[in-house]
C-alpha cells in the first residue's frame, strides 16, 4: 500500500477532481511516490484558535468557556487560574478525522500537560448547504432533505418540517388522530434508537466495547421495525406533509411489544454492567460539569439542559402531537455532569417505552393521512383504474402543492434537544426559506465550558455526552 492518507481512493480523485482536495495535491509528486502533506490543507484562518499572545484578556476569558457575565472577583480568579507562560501550554488539533469526535467535529485544545485550558470547536466540514437545497425542493420533497440532517433521529426531522408546512397550509386541525398517534409512536421508538446509539458510543469513548455492542444490538431491533414500516432503516421519509407514508404493517403491536419487552430486560442488564459500576462512575461523575444558568444562557436544550436540573421538555411544556394525552415523566439530573447526561438519557429510554406502550394500547383507528385532495395523493389502487387519479398523482409529485404566504416557527423535542424549523412561504410550491434549528449546533457551544480544567482523556467522554450529530450541526 501507498502512504496516501485516504483509504477509499479508487474513485476519489478520478470521478470528482474538484472535490479531491489533498489527494490531488499529492499527485504533483507522484514520480517519486513520496507523500507530502500540505500543512495548511485544512487551515481555517480566523476560525481557528489563536495563541494566548495574540488575543486580549476578555477574548481569553470567553474562549476559556467563560461566556457568562462574571463578577470581577470570579473573573480575576479565572484569569489567574488560566495564566501561565506559553512555553508550558500547547495548542493541539483533534479532528476533524478522529474516531471519537462523532463525525467531522474538529476541536482545537490548549493543553497544559494533561489539562485542557481552552477548547474551540471548528465546524463546517460536513456542510452541504441543505437549507439552500430546501429552497429548490417542493414541500413534498422537503422531508427527504431534512431527514438526512440528524441521521440518528430522522423521524424528528421529518416531523418538524411536516408540522411547519401543515401549520402554513392551515390543515393542522384536520389531521386524523391515527396519523398523529403513529407519528408520536414512531418518534418515541426513534428516540429510543437514538439514545441507544448514544449509549453505545458513549461507552465506546470510555473504552467499553461491551456497551458499544449492546447498544447497537438493541438499536438494530428497532431499525428492523422501521424497515418493516417504511422500507428503510434510516432516512425513512416516513412522516410526510399531510400524515405518514403508509399505515403500520399487520401485527405491528406484537412485534413492537416483543422488542420493548426484550429491551426492558436488557436495560436492567445494562444498569448492572454500567450505571452502577465504580469504574463507570469514576470516568463520568464530576466530569464536564455545567450549571443550569450557564446551560440556559448557552442555549442548550434536551438532555444536556435537563441534566443540570432544568425541567424543560417541549413534549410537556409546549405540547405538540398528542403528548398531552399520554403519561410520562420529564427526567432531570442534578449535577449536570457526564454521568447525569448519561442517566437522563437512559431514563428517557424507559419513559419512551412507556409512551410507546400507551400508543400500542390507545392507537386510534381511521385514516393515517389527511383526506385533502390538494395535499394528499390518491391511493395506489385508484391510480390503476382512474385517469383523473393518475393525473392528480402526477400533478402532486411533479408540481407539488402551493402553500399560502406566511412564516412559522415550529419546534419539537428531538433526542438532542429543541429541533426547530423556521419556514417562510411566498405562496409557491417550494419554501422561500427553510431554516432548521439544530440542537447539536447550539449544544456544541457548551463544549469549551464543559472541558475547561478537565483532563484530555475526559474530553472524549465529554464530547460524546453532548451526543452531537455533525449532519445536523453543519447541515
Amino acid at each position: 500500500m501507498t502512504t496516501t492518507p485516504h483509504t477509499h481512493a479508487p474513485d476519489a480523485g478520478d470521478v470528482e477532481p474538484d472535490r479531491a482536495g489533498e489527494p490531488d495535491g499529492q499527485r504533483t509528486v507522484d514520480e517519486t511516490d513520496v507523500t507530502v502533506m500540505d500543512p495548511y490543507a485544512t487551515y481555517e484562518g480566523a476560525q481557528e484558535m489563536r495563541s494566548r499572545s495574540e488575543i486580549s484578556a476578555t477574548e481569553l476569558l470567553r474562549e476559556s468557556g467563560a461566556v457568562l457575565r462574571l463578577s470581577e472577583a470570579a473573573a480575576a480568579e479565572l484569569s489567574e487560574a488560566t495564566a501561565g507562560s506559553e512555553d508550558e501550554t500547547m495548542i493541539i488539533n483533534m479532528g476533524p478525522q478522529h474516531p471519537s469526535t462523532h463525525g467531522v467535529l474538529r476541536l482545537m485544545l490548549e493543553l497544559k500537560g494533561e489539562e485542557v485550558l481552552r477548547t474551540k470547536p471548528i465546524i463546517g466540514y460536513l456542510h452541504t448547504g441543505m437549507e439552500k437545497t430546501a429552497e429548490e425542493l417542493t414541500y413534498l420533497q422537503g422531508t427527504t432533505n431534512t431527514t438526512r440532517m440528524d441521521y440518528l433521529s430522522p423521524m424528528f426531522n421529518e416531523l418538524v418540517f411536516a408540522l411547519a408546512t401543515e401549520e402554513l397550509l392551515g390543515v393542522a386541525d384536520e389531521m386524523p388522530a391515527r396519523a398523529t398517534w403513529i407519528r408520536m409512536f414512531m418518534c418515541e421508538l426513534n428516540r429510543i434508537a437514538s439514545h441507544l446509539l448514544f449509549f453505545a458510543t458513549n461507552g465506546m469513548d470510555m473504552a467499553s466495547t461491551t456497551s458499544m455492542i449492546f447498544g447497537i444490538r438493541e438499536r438494530d431491533a428497532l431499525l428492523r421495525f422501521f424497515e418493516q414500516v417504511s422500507g428503510l432503516r434510516m432516512n425513512h421519509n416516513y412522516i410526510r406533509v399531510g400524515g405518514v407514508a403508509a399505515d403500520l404493517p399487520d401485527g405491528w403491536q406484537e412485534g413492537v411489544s416483543a422488542i420493548l419487552d426484550t429491551l426492558e430486560r436488557k436495560l436492567v442488564e445494562h444498569d448492572e454492567l454500567f450505571s452502577g459500576q465504580p469504574i463507570w462512575h469514576g470516568r463520568s461523575q464530576g466530569v464536564g460539569i455545567i450549571g443550569p444558568e450557564a446551560a440556559v444562557a448557552l442555549g442548550a436544550t434536551g438532555p444536556t439542559l435537563r441534566a443540570t436540573g432544568v425541567p424543560w421538555d417541549l413534549r410537556r411544556d409546549d405540547p405538540y402531537l398528542a403528548y398531552d394525552e399520554v403519561d410520562f415523566d420529564v427526567i432531570v439530573g442534578t449535577h449536570g455532569d457526564t454521568f447525569d447526561r448519561y442517566a437522563v438519557r437512559m431514563s428517557e429510554i424507559r419513559e419512551s417505552i412507556r409512551i410507546a406502550r400507551q400508543c400500542i394500547e390507545g392507537m386510534p383507528a381511521g385514516d393515517w393521512r389527511i383526506q385533502d385532495k390538494k395535499v394528499t395523493p390518491p391511493p395506489r389502487a385508484r391510480i390503476d383504474e382512474s385517469m383523473e387519479a393518475l393525473i392528480h398523482h402526477f400533478k402532486i409529485f411533479t408540481e407539488g402543492f402551493r402553500v399560502p404566504e406566511g412564516e412559522v416557527y415550529v419546534a419539537v423535542e428531538s433526542p438532542r434537544g429543541e429541533l426547530g424549523c423556521y419556514l417562510v412561504s411566498d405562496g409557491s410550491a417550494k419554501p422561500y426559506r427553510m431554516h432548521i434549528r439544530g440542537p447539536s449546533f447550539v449544544n456544541i457551544q457548551t463544549l469549551p465550558h464543559l472541558m475547561k480544567g478537565g483532563l484530555m482523556a475526559d474530553a472524549v467522554a465529554v464530547i460524546s455526552s453532548i451526543d452531537p450529530v455533525m449532519g445536523e450541526v453543519d447541515r
Binding site: A9, G124, E167, G420, F441
Partner: protein, 194 residues
C-alpha cells in the same frame, strides 16, 4: 402575556384605533405566533425588555433574504421593509411562552447589534448568519465564517448566490486539475490499487 393576548388580530383592516405595540415594537400574529417587528435602533431595548419579562432562552437566530419576495410579506402597517430580515426566536422557560422578533436590515448597511452579551448562545447562530448572509454583527466577539471555508467568497444563502453556479473548490485543490486520461501512469496505477 395578558397584554399581548388582548388583541386577536393586530393587522385587522377595519381601521384599528391604535396598532398593538409591545415594548415599542409593532406586534402581529403569524399562524397564532406572536411576532414583534422591532426597529434596528431599538432592537436591543426590545430584547432587554423581553429578557426582563423572563425570556431567558434564545432558541434561534436566523435570517431571510427577501430579494425576490419583498412586497408580499405580511407585516403590520408602519414596518419599513428591507431586503434582509433577521429573525430571533426567544423562549421563556418559566412562562412556557415563545416570541419572535423580526428586524429589517437594509442591503446598503447590513449590520446588526449582537446579542452575545445577553445570550451567549447566539455566538454560533450569529456567525452562521454572517457566513450565510453577510450580516455583520457589531460587538460580536469572533465574527468569522463558521460553515464555509475561511476564504470562501460570497454568502451562499443570499438569493442572488445561485445554486450550481460556483464550482466547488476546496483549499489545497489545484485549479484545473488534469483529467483522468492525462494523468501520469503512476497516478493511474495508484488510483487503481486504492
Amino acid at each position: 402575556m395578558s397584554e399581548a393576548g388582548a388583541a386577536e388580530d393586530a393587522v385587522a383592516p377595519a381601521a384599528p384605533p391604535e396598532p398593538e405595540r409591545r415594548h415599542g415594537a409593532l406586534v402581529s400574529r403569524s399562524r397564532g405566533q406572536v411576532v414583534l417587528h422591532a426597529e434596528r435602533d431599538t432592537y436591543l431595548d426590545v430584547v432587554d425588555a423581553l429578557q426582563g419579562e423572563g425570556f431567558n432562552l434564545c432558541s434561534d437566530l436566523t435570517c431571510v433574504d427577501h430579494l425576490t419576495f419583498g412586497a408580499g410579506r405580511l407585516v403590520p402597517e408602519g414596518v419599513h421593509l428591507e431586503r434582509f430580515e433577521v429573525v430571533v426566536n426567544l423562549t421563556a422557560i418559566k412562562l412556557r411562552e415563545r416570541v419572535r422578533i423580526r428586524v429589517q436590515v437594509p442591503e446598503s448597511d447590513p449590520t446588526m447589534p449582537s446579542l452575545f452579551a445577553r445570550y451567549p448562545g447566539t455566538e454560533a447562530m450569529e456567525r452562521e448568519v454572517f457566513d450565510m448572509f453577510g450580516i455583520v454583527f457589531d460587538e460580536h466577539p469572533d465574527l468569522s465564517r463558521i460553515l464555509m471555508p475561511e476564504d470562501w467568497e460570497g454568502h451562499p444563502l443570499r438569493k442572488d448566490d445561485g445554486v450550481g453556479r460556483i464550482v466547488v473548490q476546496f483549499k489545497g485543490t489545484r485549479r484545473g486539475a488534469a483529467p483522468v486520461s492525462e494523468r501520469s501512469p503512476a497516478a493511474t496505477r495508484r488510483a487503481d490499487r486504492g
